[in-house]
Symmetry: none
Subunit: 404 residues, 2 copies
């Protein structure tokens, strides 16, 4: 598959001094709550509403109709990378999530500690969900006992509970390695060398066998299951692709990681709405693209806490003037996906978008504000997330004409 649209945009990109800010209110979209409307509809947001009156509105489809995005694909879309073309492996995402600095020589995978019986059959795929301290202790035993294969460095990091990260570092490693998690109990872990001719799979198999011996006297975490072997992807870098000088303002590891994945440097790590707006404003002085990430609209959605989600939206609304004071030439406010409190999870619902920029066809707010329903009727329409950055680039003169 080819990212036809993204590549076309890249071929038309031309640099100028205009500054674009992408403010991601993570998981901002919602569905109705008992007939009282979405969190955005219920929140008091005078600044967003005023902005909506002067902005183009629309809805963003992160992946495609009905598809619920993870955070990785959700953000790749907003960065203009087709999330069906640019796939992030689970191993790489695990590394991003704990801010492990992957190199192009690395193959990363997600590890689960598990329990196996005397016959080697899995009895608990999560080793009784051991705690972080236990995870660290067992991982240190592995580090101390493992004899790494010739020419390969093997790195382990605790993630949380029974979850860990394994990274193989060496020359010419590949990631064509099947999962070893059998996805059920009563059977042994799968052999990673089955159904592949990957030389790296043999290396992984040898390491996993060693780990089994090292941990054989453990009661709970006496084996590991590996999933999602993946190399650090060789993708076009954001600054090269778009002729933009980008910066990320993001307080949580996953989002800093996704930014770095496409070559966007992280300049600040605030978490509160006010700090994010202040820091994004500062970053706009030195960069032509600033990605600012606000986590709490997603977190409160995942917690199923509608009042808290409303409050977080109001916090961001109150902080907005600090960002507006930096006068970005184009400002996109949207989310990477919806996170309805009623679902306590990410969802597939299209995400409200606001674009403040030059050369609009008037403002779309009509005094009705920035929410899921009003945005549906705006001039942007309902579009794939990957088209939003190009649209902001168009409005700021950063895209050449196609053809003569």
């Amino acid at each position: 598959m080819e990212d036809i649209y993204g590549n076309l945009i890249g071929s038309l990109a031309q640099p100028n001094d205009s500054r674009i800010c992408l403010l991601v209110m993570d998981g901002i979209g919602d569905c109705d709550n008992d007939g009282k409307g979405t969190a955005l509809q219920q929140a008091r947001t005078p600044n967003l509403d005023k902005l909506a009156d002067e902005s183009a509105l629309g809805l963003s489809v992160p992946i495609d109709t009905g598809i619920t995005p993870g955070s990785g694909p959700g953000h790749l879309g907003l960065f203009g990378y087709d999330p069906l073309v640019y796939k992030v492996g689970r191993g790489v995402l695990s590394a991003l999530g704990i801010e492990f600095a992957l190199t192009p020589r690395d193959v990363a995978c997600r590890l689960n500690f598990c329990t196996v019986d005397a016959d080697g059959n899995v009895t608990d795929r999560r080793a009784g969900r051991i705690g972080d301290d236990e995870n660290r202790r067992v991982l240190q035993r592995i580090r101390d006992g493992l004899e790494p294969p010739e020419g390969v460095e093997v790195l382990f990091e605790t993630v949380s509970e029974h979850r860990a990260l394994m990274v193989l570092r060496g020359d010419d490693l590949d990631d064509n390695i099947p999962d070893t998690d059998p996805q059920r109990t009563g059977v042994p872990p799968l052999d990673p060398t089955q159904e592949t001719d990957s030389p790296t799979a043999k290396i992984a198999q040898g390491i996993i066998e060693q780990v089994g011996r090292i941990l054989s006297d453990e009661k709970q975490a006496n084996m590991i299951l590996a999933r999602g072997f993946a190399k650090f992807p060789d993708w076009p870098r954001f600054p090269d692709r778009y002729q933009l000088k980008p910066a990320a303002v993001a307080g949580y590891p996953m989002y800093r990681g996704v930014a770095r994945l496409v070559g966007i440097d992280v300049v600040s790590q605030p978490t509160s709405a006010e700090d994010i707006c202040v820091e994004a404003g500062k970053a706009l002085a030195e960069h032509t693209f600033v990605f600012a990430h606000f986590k709490y609209t997603d977190k409160t959605g995942e917690d199923g806490d509608l009042p808290a989600k409303i409050q977080r939206i109001e916090e961001m609304d109150a902080a907005l003037p600090k960002l507006l004071a930096a006068k970005p030439d184009a400002l996109i406010i949207t989310g990477d996906h919806s996170t309805p409190p009623s679902l306590k999870a990410h969802s597939w619902h299209p995400v409200p978008v606001l674009l403040k920029a030059p050369s609009l066809r008037g403002g779309d707010g009509n005094g009705k504000g920035y929410d899921e329903v009003n945005c549906r009727f705006g001039q942007i329409g309902t579009v794939p997330a990957k088209q939003l950055l190009p649209l902001a680039m168009a409005h700021t003169g950063k895209l050449e004409k196609y053809g003569a």
Copy 2:
């Protein structure tokens, strides 16, 4: 071509007990009639209108803008199979239309009886449109006289008038066989072995030559023209693809056939609106997906009978409570295409869609009902037909997250 979206949905499908009902009012869409609006706009539909107030609305594009679908592609889209990827050959459609049970060893084609002169040139491509009885008589002569090739069974069935079905049954048959219909008179039938190296084409040629000899003393139907050689397609089966337990409630052969084509069993064959609603309700007790088909909204459109189409819509509206009583978790009401009475034919107009499901952004009806104009402003938007089933699956928790 690959069904990228459909395959992605398939890869995300997870089973649960929620039940989806797809009610197809065949050819439901219309265009304006002399300034008085569409059939749906003119019909009195209190139940549909109330449902619209609680549902998401939108428009479904069966194939693509401006493209008028046949019944096969129209339904494949609604089943989530991209109709530009999954193409049904004319021979297979002919078999479906008369409920001929094709097997994977079969190659089917559509036959037209024709008249040829002493030089073998076609003088009438439809053999004077002979009647069904004459068709059956001549077909029996062929059955009696034909010596089938080694290892191949040759089956014939009357369709109607000058139309018949021929099925070659055997091992390793292929369908890479050109049509023999020259599409004009004054020339002989085309040679099916031209422009192909298909071994089965030679078999077909031999059969057609035999038929010519057998019928040489007939005055009208003294030859056959073959079109649309096609094998029963080897497609992903609906239950496997979507992790759904499906059932079809459909009274007409073509629609039962299209359902079976993707592996949906037919559990009941009602034709009246009331019986369809009752039977669909029953089927929902035992299945997680029920396709219910109502033919008469299409038939009246094809007849150019606007008052009758309005009446059929009102019949279905009156019957709806019997379906709603079964409390499907998600209910899609739409059509496979539009059939405007003013055109007396299928058309390309997008088709109104109603989706009643959990986790909506409120209802879209606003007291304005379920029709072509009001549906245009609903939260579903204007989307390809193939996205409707996935959307219902999303709303009922049947799709996993994409990426982490």
